[in-house]
Symmetry: C2
Subunit: 231 residues, 2 copies
């Protein structure tokens, strides 16, 4: 058995993302301070996001629309002046936010790229993810980029067949058990979970118990050695 | 010379799209009737869309955000009750709108798929374009689907290299001179323009004068014969 191809998640695996969402959500709480208590606001926003997910998919534009919809619901459509404009501005600032690679990513990708075909596999807004990759300066490490609307087992099977030698000779690395690890294992690939301190509520899931193709790593810096030990 | 691969645009080439945007814009005019004259509203919306294009890219979610932003600007952020909720609802209805293939598309694709590798090449929201293709029932004709953030010459060179035998042996068909025809020709491909009765202001461009690899066709039904005559 040999690994030829390594898939890498982007948001919260290569660079900070959930932090930016949380900061925006803090700002949303402040904007809505007169209208709703923080816990009520968070619960309502999460419900609106869940309801819209099938229609909007993942990414900042859908999140911005869901914040506006939440504000309208909680104000009975009578939003105070500037509120909607301020939410729009917060969304635009998320899209224009500088990309900050996580510690150790550049060195790890450099080591991995010497030995494996690297494929970026990410959800989110197409244009925004392309822009973040360009801004990160990490683009040259990747042989291919796949921005997908959903990450399930068939997604990984298709991507590793297209850009590698199939899922059985591939490994996936990411911060989301639900999106990066469990479906990649189900497709027959190896998978390494590198947790990020924050996780979006919709992405939480339990670790697979005692799976032979799975590892929990403290940092992406540990990925090259783990892959090396696989053969 | 032989053609091995045919790229097809989606919106307003395979199915109605601009019509749905225009109907939504009519609805936006009605919603904003107390606030702005139709011409002023259209001009302001076009300016906001242009300003946001680099950040939002193409698609319904960005269009919805731009309608809301336009409404906020024109009301001095004091939007009447329900206005923002109505714009959000209009956006969601666009995303859930049934897909109506254009006349002749199914038969034309069926003929083309017998002889060429068909590749769908489209801009817009990733999830929404995938959903429209699934809803259209046309997905099985395509060997590959490329949803891209921009259509320039390098896009066509890359897509026809990845999914075919290069741009020199490929033809592109679409309704937009600016996005489908001129960059495909620049990449070295053949290109057939099939106009749609409506065109988004940002997509208008002049036809190439007397280009050997270009044809203007009245309908996609004429595409198989044109390609057949090429060899």
């Amino acid at each position: 058995m040999r690994i030829t191809t390594v898939g890498l998640d982007a948001d919260d695996t290569l660079w900070h993302n959930e932090t930016i969402f949380r900061l925006t959500q803090d700002r949303f709480r402040a904007l809505m301070g007169e209208v709703a208590a923080p816990e009520e606001l968070d619960a309502r926003l999460a419900a609106v996001e869940r309801r819209n997910l099938a229609l909007y998919g993942y990414g900042v534009k859908g999140f911005t629309l869901s914040m506006i919809e939440t504000a309208m619901e909680l104000t009975g459509n009578e939003a105070p002046a500037r509120l909607v404009a301020d939410i729009l501005a917060a969304g635009r600032e998320m899209l224009a936010h500088p990309v900050e690679p996580l510690a150790g990513v550049d060195v790890a990708l450099s080591r991995l790229a010497e030995r494996y075909r690297l494929v970026l596999i990410t959800k989110g807004d197409l244009l925004h993810q392309e822009q973040k990759l360009a801004a990160s300066g990490l683009g040259d490490y990747f042989a291919a980029v796949e921005i997908v609307s959903e990450k399930d087992a068939s997604t990984y099977a298709r991507v590793f067949a297209r850009h590698g030698t199939g899922a059985a000779e591939a490994a996936m690395c990411g911060n989301s058990m639900k999106s990066d690890i469990l479906p990649a294992l189900a497709a027959g690939a190896f998978a390494a979970h590198v947790p990020y301190p924050l996780i979006w509520a919709h992405e939480a899931a339990d670790a697979p118990a005692g799976h032979a193709r799975f590892a929990e790593l403290a940092s992406i810096a540990d990925l090259p050695d783990w892959l090396g030990r696989l053969g």
